[in-house]
């Protein structure tokens, strides 16, 4: 078990910069999920920690020891790969026990530990099989067992669930969390799936284009996204954004179509400043046309079972809301909307940063 300190880490390939000045501390025993779209540098960060890539500048320390110049085997990390990377010519037992074999653990002890580890992940009956004879979920378990058996200080997961079907993915997610709660090793889990991020993480790290956008608990990130990017990335269906200008006199956002949305608190924006008003689909209510804050035109309704997702347009801006109402007007009809402004977010139109000054008054902040 160990703390991982990432200080000012930069990674370049030739002239391409993959990662720029990343700082992050992962506490002992913490489960951190690095979330971001493909190409944002999240896997590279994981590989830098593992020692599979060389750090261009900055340093990484594991348990207080700078590991920049250490080989992967000297860093005390275990990794679960996206495609599992099982040794195809070895049985499950040989796969799981390989690290111990390399380390020179005597055969009797090795076999005992393999059996014990395999049992803990539900593989006891498959020890003599080859990876080719296993299902996707079973291979995933072998990869987990191979990592667990080494009793590593740090667990690294590189999108380990992305090759599984939806049902198995949820099941393995719970399994991974259960194992973490049991052995409490520091874990870093990379994914592009926000559901995995939200459900697994003690803390989430949202990355974009080689930099960290925001670090926080899943609730913090969902409730107080630090930037337009994070606000748009986290949450499904995605947050709506209404561009407009701030009017200090009216303490309101004047939308491009002329509609005025009055704000309940002072966002600290200057008069005439270009802003983006963000609101999640679940914080919008329906009214009769002309009776809400703003009118919208219905484009399509998607039935989600428990609720319905309305896709609308306000002028030309796409906008969505979730409602439990079953009846819906025909496509092309106009409807009125009420935004629950306690849950609204305001972002600087130029920088995309969250406007914080007294925005707390805009929304209900969960009691700390």
């Amino acid at each position: 078990m160990a703390e991982i300190a990432i200080r000012n880490v930069t990674k370049t390939y030739g002239k391409t910069t993959i990662m720029q000045g990343v700082n992050l501390t992962i506490h002992n025993g913490e489960f951190v999920v690095i979330l971001g779209p493909s190409g944002c540098g999240k896997s590279t960060l994981l590989r830098l920690i593992a020692g599979l890539e060389e750090i261009t500048a900055g340093e990484i320390a594991i348990a207080g020891q700078v590991v920049n110049d250490l080989e992967p085997r000297e860093r005390g990390c275990a990794m679960v790969f996206q495609n599992y990377a099982l040794y195809p010519h070895m049985t499950v037992a040989e796969n799981v026990g390989y690290a111990l074999k390399v380390a020179g653990v005597p055969k009797a002890e090795r076999m005992a530990r393999v059996a014990e580890t395999a049992k803990s992940v539900g593989l006891a009956d498959f020890l003599d099989r080859k990876p080719g004879q296993l299902s996707g979920g079973q291979r995933q378990r072998v990869a987990m067992a191979r990592a667990i058996i080494r009793e590593p200080k740090v667990f690294l997961f590189d999108e380990p669930l992305s090759n599984l079907d939806a049902k198995l993915r949820v099941q393995m997610r719970h399994e991974i969390r259960r194992i973490h709660n049991q052995i409490k090793a520091t874990s870093v889990f990379v994914t592009h799936d926000q559901h995995e991020g939200m459900t697994l993480a003690d803390r989430l790290v949202v990355m974009n284009k080689g930099t960290i956008e925001q670090v926080g608990t899943p609730a913090e990130i969902y409730d107080r996204p630090a930037s337009l990017y994070v606000a748009g990335f986290i949450g499904s269906p995605a947050m709506n954004f209404l561009p407009g200008q701030y009017s200090a006199a009216r303490r309101a956002v004047v939308l491009e179509g002329g509609a005025v949305i009055g704000l309940p608190g002072d966002p600290g924006a200057s008069d005439g400043q270009f802003v983006q008003l963000g609101i999640r689909p679940e914080h919008v209510a329906l009214r009769a046309p002309g009776h809400g804050m703003i009118d919208a035109r219905l484009e399509i309704v998607e039935d989600l079972g428990a609720s319905r997702l309305w896709n609308l347009r306000i002028e030309d801006i796409p906008f969505s809301l979730i409602t439990e109402a079953r009846a819906h007007p025909p496509v092309g009809a106009t409807t009125g909307l009420v935004l629950d402004l306690r849950h609204a977010h305001l972002f600087d139109g130029a920088t995309g940063k969250r406007m914080e000054t007294t925005l707390g008054a805009l929304r209900a902040v969960p009691a700390q």
Binding site: N83, P88, Y98
Partner: protein, 293 residues
Amino acid sequence: MRRAHFKFSWIVPLLLAPQLLVIFTFFYWPSAQALYWAFTLEQPWGGGNTWVGLQNFRKVLSDPYYWGSVRVSVIYALATTVLAMGMALTLALFVDRQLAGYRAWRVGIIWPYAVAAPAVGLAFNFVFNPGAGIFSVINTLSPGWWDLSKYPWQAVTAIVIAGAWKQVAYSFIFFLAALQSIPRSLTEAAAMDGARPLRRMIDLQLPLLTPTFFFLLVINITDSFTDSFGIVDTLTGGGPFRATDLMVYKIYSDGFRGFDYSGAAAQSIILMCLVMALTFIQFRYVERRVHYT
């Protein structure tokens, strides 16, 4: 699985015809001719062959020179195969590790495959020449010690080296391709598991190479039995004292120099059966130990 069905069309035989014609002209017809010659004898002044049954085979198999030829062919096949595959594997492992300059080496190592066997023989003629070649240095130290036209073992060594040199390229391409098709994450997983490069090679790369290894074994052994003519002809001419008279070379010298067509035809049939038997044995007994994944 659904199978595609095609309607019969005259296009099909038309497109197949050129290839079939080539195979027929240069394989089936000569093979049939060899079979015919092997069981017959031509009359002294021409004018038809007479059926002699197994007499040609009996004669060949009771000839001590023939058994000498078989012995040296087997030695040659085993030695060139082991040498060529060993060299090819070593080189491929280094190129795969992407040591400095590996791109240039890769091209350089593949090149010999494009050189025709007689050209290889000629080139090695210069290398092994006791008077002027690279090996002549030995003779300045110990005069007369190196001369492959005098010492049988030196002649055999020379054709083995030349033959192996030519075959390295072919095996190298396949070994390298196989090494590069091993997913990188496997190597990385082994590195995380604590295995150093040498250990990874023994535990991971070599076992995963076994299908390629088996394929190359079959190809190399077959090649060294049937494709060694050019090297022997240009380098040693079968000598000294028939020491490098490989089976394929003896077929040529008996048939076209000794004008014993029927004897040469019988030897061709024996060689063909031998190669087929060897290939069968390899598939039957060696392939069992191959991991296909």
